[in-house]
C-alpha cells in the first residue's frame, strides 16, 4: 500500500515540478508524456529491460560473491589486507571510460565486459562493508574460540561471518541500489541493447520522453531490488534488532 502511495506522490511531485517550475519538456518530460511512451513502446522497453536485468542479475551475483569472498579472504589473511585494500579502493576510483577499451581488449564486446563492469561497481560496497563487519567482533567470542582450538577458518566462518552479517546486509542494500548504475556503466563498454543504451541513445539525440521512460524502469528495478534485498536479509537474520 505505502510504496504505491509513495510512487503516486512522487509522480505528482514530478508533474508539478515540470508544470509549476516551467521546466521545458526536453529537459524533464512530465510523467503524463512519459506514460505515453510506456503505452506506445512498452515492448521496446521490455525488450531492453530484459537485457539490463540479465546484466544486473549477473553483476549482483558476481559482485556479491566476489565482494564477500574478498572480504573473507582479507579477514582471514591479515597480510592480504595491506595489499588488497588499496587495490580495491583503486578499482572504485577508476572511471570506466578510461579502462573500457582495456576491458574490451580482454573480454570482447559480448556480455562479459558489461558484466565485468557491473560487478566492479557492486563489488566494492559489499567488500568494504563486510570487511568492516568482520573486523568488528566481540573480542570475548574470539577468546572463546581460541580456547576451543578453533581453526582460523572456523573462526572466520562460524563466528566472524555471522557476526558481520548485518554489515554485509548494509553493503548488499547499497549494492542493490547501485546495481542499475552498474549495468549502465557496463553498457558503456559497447552495447546494442539494454536500458542504459536506450537511454543514452535517446538522450544523445534529444528524445527525452523515451529516455525518461527507460529511466523510470531503471529506478523501479533499483528500488525493487533494494526492498527485496532488505526483506530477504532481515528474514535471514532474525536475531538482529531492527528498531524503527
Amino acid at each position: 500500500m505505502r510504496p504505491v502511495l509513495v510512487a503516486v506522490a512522487l509522480i505528482a511531485l514530478w508533474e508539478a515540478v515540470v508544470w509549476l517550475g516551467g521546466v521545458p519538456h526536453y529537459i524533464l518530460p512530465p510523467p503524463s508524456i512519459v506514460a505515453q511512451e510506456f503505452v506506445g513502446r512498452g515492448d521496446l522497453l521490455a525488450e531492453h529491460a530484459a537485457w539490463t536485468l540479465i546484466e544486473i542479475a549477473a553483476g549482483l551475483v558476481l559482485g556479491v560473491a566476489l565482494g564477500g569472498a574478498t572480504a573473507l579472504a582479507m579477514a582471514r589473511f591479515g597480510r592480504l589486507r595491506a595489499w588488497g585494500m588499496p587495490l580495491m579502493v583503486i578499482s572504485q576510483a577508476v572511471p570506466v571510460f578510461a579502462i573500457a577499451p582495456l576491458l574490451v581488449l580482454w573480454l570482447g564486446y559480448g556480455l562479459a565486459s558489461k558484466i565485468a563492469m557491473a560487478t566492479l561497481v557492486i563489488f566494492f560496497p559489499i567488500a568494504s562493508a563486510f570487511y568492516d563487519g568482520l573486523r568488528r567482533v566481540d573480542p570475548g567470542w574470539l577468546d572463546l574460540a581460541r580456547m576451543m582450538d578453533a581453526p582460523p577458518l572456523s573462526v572466520l566462518l562460524r563466528i566472524r561471518l555471522p557476526a558481520a552479517l548485518p554489515a554485509f546486509a548494509s553493503g548488499v542494500r547499497v549494492a542493490a541500489a547501485v546495481a542499475p548504475i552498474g549495468a549502465i556503466i557496463g553498457e558503456w563498454v559497447g552495447a546494442s541493447a539494454g536500458l542504459g543504451y536506450l537511454m543514452m541513445q535517446q538522450l544523445a539525440r534529444g528524445q527525452t520522453a523515451l529516455a525518461f521512460a527507460a529511466l523510470v524502469v531503471l529506478c523501479v528495478i533499483g528500488v525493487a531490488l533494494y526492498f527485496l534485498a532488505d526483506a530477504l536479509l532481515r528474514r535471514a537474520m532474525p536475531w538482529v534488532p531492527h528498531a524503527a
Binding site: P24, Y26, I27, R41, L44, H48, F97, A100, P101, V104, L105, G108, Y109, E187, W188, V189, G190, A191, S192, Y197, L198, M200, Q201, Q202, L203, A204, R205, G206, Q207, T208, L210
Partner: protein
C-alpha cells in the same frame, strides 16, 4: 563469407546509412562479406580497438585520425590508415538559436560556448573566432557532453560547437526552434572529411577492403535512388529506438552528404588539415601522409 567487424563512432544514426543499407540490402553479401556493426559509447574508443586488433574497421573523424596517428609520443601513435570515407565534408558547425543574440561570429564575445569532448573543438573554434578578430579568451568553453541541443534550448549557453548540421538543426526544429548554423569550413577551418573509415595498418587486407568499399558505393547509389525504401530498411534494422522523428528528418538531410565514392581520397585535404592542427598545437609532430592514408584503387 569473410567475417568483418565495423565499429561505429556513435549510436546508430543516418550518418551510417551506407553501412546499414549495404548490410540489409545484401551488398556486403554480394561481396562475400559478413559484416557486424558494433556501437560504442565513447567515440574515442573504436579507433584504438581497431588499432589493437579488436575489430576490422572503425568509423572515425578526420581530425581524430590526425591526432591519433601523431601524438607527442611516438609509442602512443595508433597504427591506423584511412581507407575510405562516409561523409566527405565537414558536418561540424557552430549552432546558435536563430532568434538569439548570436547573429555573427563576432557576437560570441563574452558568451558561453558548449561542446561535447572530441578533442579538437578549441582549435576549430579558435580558427572561427579569428575570422572575427576574437580569440578563445573572449569566450567561455564548457563541456556539456551529451546535451548539446538541450543546453542550447534551455539557454544555459549561447552556442555549441561540434553540432552536426544534419542533426542538431532538426532537433531544434522538432521543438519549434530555429537554429542558426555557422559551417566551420566557411569560417577559417580547412575542409575535411567528417566521417571516415579506418583500419589497422599492418596486415591490411586490401582485397577485402576493396570489396567493402565497393559494397558501400553500391549501397549509396541504391539509397539515393530509393530514399523511401532505404529509410524503411534503415528503420527496420535500427529498431524502434532509431526509427524516430529526428532520425527521419536527419535522413533527408544526410543522403545528399554521403560519399558517392567511399574509396575516394583527396590527399591535399589531409596535408592541409594536418598543418592546421599542427599550427594550432594539437599535434606536435609531422607524420608522413602516406603512413596514415591509403587509397584503395
Amino acid at each position: 563469407a569473410d567475417k568483418v567487424t565495423v565499429l561505429l563512432d556513435w549510436f546508430l544514426n543516418p550518418d551510417h546509412a551506407a553501412l546499414v543499407i549495404a548490410k540489409t540490402q545484401g551488398f556486403f553479401e554480394k561481396q562475400n562479406l559478413d559484416v557486424s556493426l558494433t556501437v560504442p559509447a565513447d567515440p574515442s574508443a573504436p579507433p584504438k580497438l581497431v588499432a589493437a586488433g579488436k575489430g576490422d574497421y572503425a568509423v572515425s573523424y578526420q581530425p581524430q585520425l590526425h591526432m591519433f596517428v601523431a601524438p607527442e609520443r611516438a609509442s602512443e601513435a595508433l597504427p591506423l590508415v584511412r581507407i575510405g570515407v562516409l561523409v566527405p565534408q565537414p558536418l561540424n558547425a557552430l549552432v546558435s538559436l536563430a532568434n538569439g543574440p548570436i547573429k555573427t561570429i563576432a557576437d560570441l564575445k563574452g558568451k558561453k560556448v558548449g561542446y561535447s569532448v572530441a578533442g579538437f573543438e578549441d582549435a576549430i573554434l579558435a580558427a572561427m573566432l579569428e575570422t572575427a578578430g576574437l580569440t578563445l579568451k573572449d569566450v567561455t568553453l564548457i563541456n556539456v557532453n551529451f546535451a548539446l541541443t538541450t543546453a542550447l534550448k534551455s539557454r544555459q549557453i549561447d552556442a555549441v560547437i561540434g553540432a552536426f548540421r544534419n542533426f542538431e538543426l532538426n532537433d531544434l526544429e522538432i521543438e519549434k526552434l530555429k537554429g542558426a548554423a555557422f559551417p566551420v569550413e566557411d569560417f577559417g577551418v580547412p575542409v575535411y572529411d567528417e566521417l571516415i573509415l579506418v583500419a589497422r595498418r599492418d596486415g591490411l587486407d586490401i582485397d577485402r577492403t576493396r570489396r567493402l568499399l565497393a559494397a558501400l558505393r553500391e549501397a549509396t547509389a541504391w539509397l539515393r535512388a530509393n530514399p523511401a525504401a532505404a529509410w524503411d530498411a534503415f528503420a527496420a534494422y535500427g529498431g524502434k529506438e532509431v526509427a524516430n522523428e529526428l532520425n527521419r528528418r536527419a535522413w533527408q538531410d544526410t543522403l545528399p552528404l554521403l560519399a558517392s565514392d567511399p574509396a575516394s581520397l583527396d590527399r591535399t585535404r589531409y596535408a592541409r588539415f594536418a598543418a592546421f592542427l599542427k599550427a594550432r598545437g594539437l599535434i606536435k609532430r609531422d607524420v608522413p601522409l602516406e603512413s596514415y592514408v591509403q587509397e584503395i584503387k
